[in-house]
Structures are given as structure tokens and as C-alpha cells.
Point group: C2
Chain length 413, copies 2
Amino acid sequence: MSAEHPAHGAPFNVGLLGHGTVGGAFAELLPARAGEIAELTGREPRLTGVLRRSSGDYREILDGADAIVELIGGVDPAREYVLAALLSGRHVITANKLLLSQHGEELFAAAEKGGAQLLFEAAVAGVVPVIKVLEQSLAGSHIDRVHGIVNGTTNFILSEMARGLSYAEALAEAQSKGFAEADPSDDVSGRDAAAKMAILARLAFGVPVHLDQVPYEGIEQLQGDDLAYARELGLGLKLVGTAERRDGGLSVRVHPAFLYSGHPLASIAGSFNAVTVESDAITEITMSGPGAGGPQTASAVLSDVVSAILPPAGRRAPVRRLPLVADIQSAFYVHMDVADRPGVLAAVTQALGEHGVSIKSVVQRGMGERARLVMVTHPVVESSMRAAVAQVAEFQFVRSAPRTIRVIEEEFV
Amino acid sequence: MSAEHPAHGAPFNVGLLGHGTVGGAFAELLPARAGEIAELTGREPRLTGVLRRSSGDYREILDGADAIVELIGGVDPAREYVLAALLSGRHVITANKLLLSQHGEELFAAAEKGGAQLLFEAAVAGVVPVIKVLEQSLAGSHIDRVHGIVNGTTNFILSEMARGLSYAEALAEAQSKGFAEADPSDDVSGRDAAAKMAILARLAFGVPVHLDQVPYEGIEQLQGDDLAYARELGLGLKLVGTAERRDGGLSVRVHPAFLYSGHPLASIAGSFNAVTVESDAITEITMSGPGAGGPQTASAVLSDVVSAILPPAGRRAPVRRLPLVADIQSAFYVHMDVADRPGVLAAVTQALGEHGVSIKSVVQRGMGERARLVMVTHPVVESSMRAAVAQVAEFQFVRSAPRTIRVIEEEFV
């Protein structure tokens, strides 16, 4: 370095595992920012080894590294590599949400045992610093709820459907723009978002949550006219992940949900991600930004490299015990194809009422044998809603299985 | 503490200066959260002294404290108290934006000399953790621009004006709801926002910026019909603080500005605050939440208490040199009262064109002697715009001084 720069300590050696979209972007970004990071931290980060599919030796890379950046993805062999690094005292920076949501506790234990940091800002919401904000700024807060749009692919598809495209057209559009994989099932099924919500729940509530404990529904079944009717009711449709205190426990889940237009997540468009954190003391804060993209994710990885060089003094949230609860209350949008005969609305509302479902607003459309009845309900326990809908589906005037989508009410301010 | 909790170190003694709205809320919040903070950090924070207007001895409070929480506000005697604490090695947590924006460098130097932390998350955007995000998550980023809605009073007033209220009515509404002081001049003049932008610019760009170096314009001169015409052009009106790299230097400023509806700050309503950070690598991230309120600000103060107990390893951004630039390019909205005669539009556009001002869109309204001509221009250097408007004002058919308001273009995706 030139004489203008402050004195430096030893270089900080980074071993990179994986050289795909994010790995490649990181390998470009690191040398470009190394000088400024050296100014800030006193140590200049440099890439000392890269493990590609076809070349590189992990043992050799590990031996020469102060920190390992894991961007292979998937569980095997990433798990083995990350564990070996942590146990040997090397810091690990990873964007691997599947690994963290399935083996997080094992990895945290290895990090503690090895005296190393496990950093994963890039695993959730890309460049949006939701991990550090939960770990640090909100460490002393009593968080009540986290809502997230944490999958950019599905948010892009839903944004396009809101413009009038069908699901199939919107998916094709996402694929042609590189926002969706050729096999999009991990995204559109909600599984990717579920993994991220498991990670956020661990940080926000201190409760270990495994991906298998997060029920998820995707967007494959959504119909364009759900979005059209919803607009009439002043609602927007998003794939929302939720982690919240409920009934003395914790509920973590992912499903499509309607949001009132004033909700801070309602305006998140295209492939952006956003996370809202609510508590009594803070009311709510929302963070948003690009959820993916090589350079953006690489930038989040690099911010963790800076943290690895200068660790925030070993703060680690204690593990808490909160039961995971499943059958919770939600408001619902209900869409029914019905024959428009006298007494239909009365029969439906009575059937719903028998299960404790009360109706907040109704839109009825069309006439004759192909009318549509769209309702938004007040909050009701999900199992009651399912039972009510099953009863309604039995009516002879109901033309096809009713569709339900949860509605997120504006509960704050 | 009970035997279930991990072993604790010594209590962490906090001296509180000031017991107004925020101080009182903090004095309630601290004991309520002390147990969880002890679990997290190993030290239980406790209030060991309070300096009120009428009681308390500063020397005594300081002697018994590990950290001082300064919530008096204003420069004197806060400056003296904070300097004494830092030089004696006590951490200081403050929400005092006037002090930081006028004496920041002196305070940072005292903190370094005393080996103490100076923490001020609550000074900007209340509970929105923009300070820690800039200091930590974005520490390795090359930031290009920061936009902020950092004054909740003015954002509330503008939100009410957007609903049709006059400035005077909206101000009265803000005062009756406790969002504006009896003397609102610090807020509505833009001075409060300017102090906060000086602080954000220091963190984002490493450049010391004094409040006196931040030009600011307030909202007192805005007219209800500016908002009405702007709606026709698809724009919303906000008081926006900006700190950005421009022409090889740094521009920091506060003024009313129109935002296109897709801009992430356009949907920030009521007394909320929001900050958007842009850079090539991250594209942009936006953080929003309540900008003020006793419990919210107290919560931000408390998060700094946690940081004081467990410091992020002494990261302090180096000081950089970037000249402050003043005469920058902006797009403008221009509002003119004109007599509707043949040749008026031609004369105006020619006069503007002579100064390099080109027009993007025009709305003309009314007829006869009281027509209104509203334009949005392409970006132009501010001094050229002022010269062009001065020339237009000379025309005999112009009925009153033209009004100009800057327009923030959507420059990112």
C-alpha cells in the first residue's frame, strides 16, 4: 500500500468456495474494495484460494485462510466444509439459507466451539441488512412480529400478475429476465421463503426453528382474477413470511396474503425484498432493497468480511424456549363461483357464521349460473375457516372449490 | 438474578441527563428491559443518577456512571457535559443532533482521546437504525447518495396538505396532535433536517460536515395547489435531505422536492421517517419507521446502551477529503400565474431555453387573465434555473413570482 494509508496489520486471507453468479461477483468486488476496507479495519482482505466445481483443494484453501466464504449452496458438501472451517477457528461467511435453516444449531455450536464467527447477512433479503439489524440494533428489543417479502422471484411474478398477466405468463417473463430458474419450484412453492423465515425467527426470537417446522404455501394456485377482485377491495397480493408471538408461543409460516394499501410491504414491487419488524417500543421499522442479483449479494457478503475482520464483541443471543404454534387467527379473502339464485348469500353467510366466521366486506359480480362472490372476513382461527369453507363447498349452488387467501390487517399505528 | 440466568459481571451504571418526554420514557424502559439485556450482554444496566432541570449534581452522576445518556438537547450545557464524560472515559449516548452537527469533530476527538464510545442512533430518524447500518453494514460500501425524510413534523404536515389542507391548517393539526412544537420554526424551516443530514453525510462519506455548510429550505412557502398540480403530473411532495457525490465533491442539502410515485420515499406518510442509501453495488436500500415519539426514541437510546456494554470492536471511519459543492443539477417543477394570451408559452419556453432549461412536461389550466402554467423540466444547474426564472418573472404577462420546487428523478431501477 502507498505511504498515504495508515499502517496495516497482516493481510486478511479469504478462501472462496463456489464461483457461480454470486461467487464471481464477489471475486471481482473484493479487490476493488480492498483498499478502503484496509483503511477502515487496518487489514487488507485478499482472495487466497477459490474452490470451483472443477478445480481447487479445500484442505489447502482452508489452511491458508483467515475466513471462508461459502457460496456453493445446498447442504452437501457445504455443511462439511463450513463445519471444518468453524471448528478450526476460521470465520465463515455464507449465503446458504438451506444449510442454515436445516443445520443452524449445529453450525452455531461449531462456531462457539471453534471461537469463530458465523456470518450470513447475504442469506436473507440480499443486501438489506436485516440480519445485523436484528442481531445488533434490535438486540435489546422485545420483538412481537416480523413480516417479510423475502423471495424476489415470487414478488416479481405477483407484481406482473397485478399488471394483468396470468401466472404462466408472469413466470415466463421472470424466467426470461433471469429472476426465475428454469425449475422455479423452490421459489414458487414458498420453500425458499420458509428457509429464510426460519433464520429470521431464530434471530428475532432466539428460538431455534428448523425449515421442517415452517408450514408454507406458494403462489402456483393463484388466479389472475383474485388480484383483480382484491383491487376492488383495496388490497394487494404478496407472498408474505411471518414470524410472530401468538398464543404464548411462536408462529412461523409463509403463504400468499393480501395487504391493505397502507401496509409498508404493500408498495414493495418487482424483485425487491422487504422486512418489517414490529414491537411495542419501536412501533415498526421496515427495510427494503434488492433481494438478489450477483453484485448485490456479493456486497452483503463483503460487509460480512468487514465484520469478520472487526467482530462486534462476541454478542450471541441466548436460546429461548417458545412453543411453535400452528392453528392461528387470520382474516381471509374467500372467492366463490356460485349460481346467482335467491338465498345464496344468506346460505353462505349462515354456514360461515356457524363456524364463527364473520364477514367484513363483500363484492358480488356477474349473474345467472356464473356469478362470483368475493368476501373479506374478520380474523378467525384457520381450522374454523377450513371447516367453514368445506361446508360451503357442499352447497349445490357452488360451482367450484372456494379459494381462500389470508389478509394481513393493518394492526399498527 | 435467578439461577437460570448465566453468570453476570458488574452492573452497568447509566447516568441520565434530562427527564423530558424521551428522558422519562427511557427511565421507564431501562428497568423493564434490564433483565433481557443482562442475559444478552452479561451486565445488567441500571439507572444510577438523573439530572433534572431542578435537581441532581452532574459531577456526582458522572463519578458513579459507566455511561452517560444525554437527552437535554441544545448546545449548552450539553456540550460541556458530553466532553467531560468522554474525556473521562465514559461512553456517551445522545440524541442531540444540534450538538453533533455543530461540534461533532470535537466530540469524536474527545471520544478517541478518552477511549470512550460516542453513540447517537437516536439523533437521526428515531428508531430506524440508520446510524448503525451506515457505520457497520455499509462500512465497506462506496456510497453514492443518501436521501432522507428525516423530519416527522414536516412529513406529517405535507401528508395532510396532500389530503387538501392548507399549510396553516396542516400545521395546526400537527400541533394539536403533538407532532409540532408551539414554535415549529426549527422543523418547518428545514434546519432540524439539515442537522440530521450533516450527521448522515459524515457517516456515509467520512467527510466532516458542519450544520452551517448545509443549505436548507423549508416548507412554509408551499402552496396547496402545488400539491394538486403535482398530482396531475404523477408526483408527491416531500421535504427531502440529500447527501451525494457530485462533480468530484459532496453536496449536502435540504429542500422540498417532488418524487415520482415509484420512488421509495414517495410512500412514506404521516410522521414517519425514511432513509434511502444508493450505491452501484447495492443498488439501493431503504429503511423507514417512526421518526420520533418518546418510547420510540427511548428504544433507540437503549439499543445504544447495549452497544456501549458490548462495543463493536472500535471501528471508526477515517476522515476523508471531498469538497462541498453547491451549484448542482436538478429537475424542477415551475409554477407560473400568467395571462393566457397568444405566444405566452412560446415566450416562456424560449426564455428558459436561453438558459439551458428544457421542458419535460407541461400542464396549462384556466383561461383569461388568471391562467396557470405548470412545468417539469429536465435536470439543469440550479443557478441557470434561477436566472431563467428571474427572466421569466420580468414578462408583463406573468402575474406573480414563479415558484420552483426540485423534482427527484427516479435514477435507479
